[in-house]
Symmetry: C2
Subunit: 527 residues, 2 copies
């Protein structure tokens, strides 16, 4: 049962605010449930509660925090059926995809539970005292990561579970020891309400301070802006468009105190097809990329929006095969009518630019549904691409642009002209790669993750994952929003000098009671 009131520190708060409803993007029809935009008073109340909760939650025992995270996963599974059907209705994404996303979401929560329970993530560093050192004795200094305070998380439209209310940002922030205030995405408020209720119930059941989690609604931008500017907010996490991300950055710049604002703003994820593989397996490549480009109606941060290659017979075959596959790709419901309109507009505008040539558009359009994406591929020359910045901008949807270079040098110039990217991919035959060292170096500088012979869609949730690249793909390339590393966005090092052992956090006590890996006098040890 969906309750569309704002959740403030464990309670549903009623406000006389703007009321809005969710829409099924495949029909354009309204769904059940009334949702209420939060107001300034509620925002203050929320952040006061989060700040109060932080005083308790920041030093809560790792095992207790892990139990909270696992209980959230359990509660999500308990409402799984309702959650999945509502998310499908609100997003237009297929049941299989949303079911997988629920698994990813609970998997992330359990992964962070394991991480905090194991405990070594705090990167404890201990330099013991040297009382005999000359000319002056050395103090005992011990450092570890500690949470920074209330984090505002913006739900993302394209992952209504895994990057939304109970998604990776929330999981990593809660794991770090920070309370979370989620601004629900207006495209899936019902899904948000269900996930929010699950987190609240888990917090209550595991005895967390009430302000550890809140969920606020808004059908516009005002609540988000107030949250970012609120002096009690200590960090912001956002996944969405360049314009949306930069708007939050600008708001944060107006603050009195500086805070980290993590915005993942998308990417065109260049794919470089090397000559050898194009010659040997153009059709297999085309099939692989047709699938990656159109996955989830192309609504991925890691959608391969740019394909780069040197002209060749193999490339011609690839283009023919890719064109054939794209032409037959069935349309899919896009996440919102706004995203659909934007896709139509941008893909239309770009096709009117000088030097671009349409390769093909899908003709398999479902006319019984609305907001249907039309998969499209086009091509330009390397020269035209370099000359016109517009060709390098993201078009969110099942769109990809092929850039044809005359030779490898020109291919490298195209790569050098790119902005920062979340991912970059190279498709190569065995042994082919070694001859492209310069090109690979240039490509590496542009990206956070470099892939060989794979597709960039599909972001593994693991310790080694890097989902964050040079600006403008993200606001800060030094952090990741996927994988265990995401926790480091919300912590800062804190050092204790000559402190009493019994009063140190357990992570830093001599006896190492949590049995974690620590760097003691420059050696890694569990002693």
């Amino acid at each position: 049962m969906i309750n569309g009131n704002n959740i403030v520190a464990g309670n549903y708060a009623t406000v006389e605010g703007e009321l809005f409803k969710a829409t099924d993007p495949s029909t354009g029809e309204q769904l059940t449930g009334d949702f209420y935009a939060a107001n300034a008073l509620l925002i203050d109340e929320t952040l006061n509660a989060a700040t109060a909760a932080f005083k308790v939650y920041r030093t809560i025992a790792p095992a207790t925090k892990a139990k909270f995270l696992r209980t959230i996963a359990d509660k999500l599974n308990a409402v799984g059926e309702e959650l999945i059907s509502r998310a499908v209705a609100e997003s237009g994404l297929p049941v299989g995809r949303i079911t997988g996303e629920l698994g990813r979401t609970t998997g992330q929560l359990r992964m962070f539970a394991d991480l905090v329970e194991e405990g070594s993530w705090v990167e404890a560093v201990i330099d013991t005292a040297q009382p005999e050192r000359l000319p002056i004795p050395r103090s005992d200094i011990r450092r570890m990561y500690t949470p920074i305070g209330p984090v505002v998380v913006f739900g993302a439209s394209n992952f209504p579970l895994a990057f939304s209310v109970a998604g990776g940002d929330t999981a990593s922030a809660l794991a770090s020891g920070c309370p979370v205030v989620v601004k629900a995405h207006p495209a899936h408020p019902g899904t948000s309400a269900l996930a929010g209720a699950a987190i609240s119930a888990a917090a209550l059941e595991t005895g967390m301070p009430a302000g550890v989690f809140s969920l606020l609604y808004d059908n516009g931008y005002s609540v988000g802006a107030q949250l970012v500017k609120h002096e009690q907010t200590k960090a912001v996490a956002f996944t969405g468009s360049y314009n949306g991300g930069m708007a939050l950055i600008k708001l944060a710049q107006e603050r009195k105190s500086l805070i980290p604002v993590f915005t993942e703003m998308g990417s065109i994820n260049p794919v470089v097809l090397l000559p050898g593989i194009l010659e040997l397996q153009p059709e297999a490549l085309a099939a692989k990329y047709a699938g990656s480009i159109t996955l989830g109606a192309g609504q991925f941060c890691t959608n391969p929006g740019l394909i780069l290659a040197v002209k060749s017979e193999g490339l011609n075959k690839f283009v023919a095969a890719l064109g054939g596959a794209i032409e037959l790709t069935p349309s899919a419901t896009m996440l919102t009518s706004g995203i659909w309109k934007n896709y139509e507009k941008l893909s239309g505008e770009i096709l009117a630019e000088q030097g671009i040539e349409l390769i093909t558009k899908s003709t398999a359009i479902n006319t019984e549904k609305v907001n249907q994406s039309v998969a499209t591929i086009a091509k330009v020359s390397a020269e035209a691409f370099i000359a016109n910045k517009k060709f390098g901008e993201e078009i969110f949807g099942p769109w990809s642009l092929l850039v044809v270079a005359d030779n490898v040098e020109q291919l490298q110039e195209v790569i050098a002209s790119l902005d920062g990217q979340l991912t970059a991919t190279v498709m190569a035959e065995k042994g082919e790669l070694a001859a492209y060292n310069d090109l690979l170096n240039v490509l590496t500088e542009k990206t956070g993750r470099i892939i060989l012979n794979g597709v960039p869609t599909g972001v593994e949730v693991c310790a080694a994952m890097q989902h964050g690249g040079p600006f403008p793909s993200t606001s800060d390339s030094r952090f990741t929003s996927v994988g265990t590393g995401a926790i480091y966005r919300f912590v800062r090092p804190l050092a204790w000098q000559d402190w009493e052992d019994a009063l140190l956090p357990p992570e830093l006590q001599n006896a190492n009671p949590l049995n974690i890996w620590r760097q003691v006098d420059n050696n890694w040890t569990k002693e």
Copy 2:
């Protein structure tokens, strides 16, 4: 022999720019040497060279990089005598202090050489492939830290060696694999020229790409502003005042691409004297703090500018003893006439505020020298402190303000009212600390380093050091500018997916040829 031309990628560049000279702050007289402000053309040339050098330097072998850093230390020692006497003349700091600072500077360079040679600092994380995983196979993903690009370092006035041209920012940036462009501090251009020549010679001798290091002069703000706004600059490191740091932050906000700007903007470093220790050893405490407040004419980021205590007989004794010591503290030459004027102005203005009472001023003033600091201590009530934000602002110099609370609750209110700090100190008798849990929690949230029974001046250069606290003490509390951790300011994680083993960086290859600690499938190992 001092050459006052700008050093651009290993060469002295002559410009027809503004010429300026160094001043001896103890006499106000000009020192030998002409220095030339850089211009826009030179800045472009410098950053082009740095960007070109980055392409080579970013993947240079760790042992080669270590040799470069150690050779810088050797070259600094080789000009040690000239360097020390020039730094003394330009800063007014005593020979002993500058000699120690040279040791710290070369020590930092050797520490970073050891760090990069050992190699584990890159935090390699490897998640191996699981080709049999269902529903989809898992890719092999390997991540490590890589440098972000050219770093602009601003020399700081208060550490003409250790936080200047060859100081900790430069050492950590070079260690990370980033080229460095230093903007010399105009208060010690001769010292800068000597250190810059040492770095250039070391770069040449060890075969570094020429653009790995450049040194630019300016007697004003224009060159620094242009460097921060230059699109090829990828990070900025600065230590100085709040106004200076915030000016750089604002400039960086005007950039097209976002970059990290690390500004260490000072702090008043509260010292909490608990009742027990005040009762038992008020005089010893006073002697300790008189020394810390006046060390280096109080010109430390970690100068204890605020002393907090509950009123008591012991506190009265402490005040009497501290007053006596401060009154007899000899004046010292301040770094520049600007800093001296500012100290005179701010300490004068604050003493005119309502509710403040002068405890004592030093009467031991050296009238044969100019720009002499007058050590001063004053006191206010807790109520007055909380009511007037000015009492919490830094006064750079040998100044300290005692805040007297009526009781522990009020003491805690004072702490809660503080801005973010680099350090916080608690002076306590053995066993006394445990009773102040709430107070300590509030204090801990405000600071990057918390010290028991010590003085905050004296920042150990080691792995566990945290020199960076919540805003406004630094722009980003998640990083440190002292200790081995400082290297992490200039790197970002980069992940390779399914890459060919032989083409991976050695840090990530299966055989672990560098024998570093790595996290492989969630286990720390050197295998």
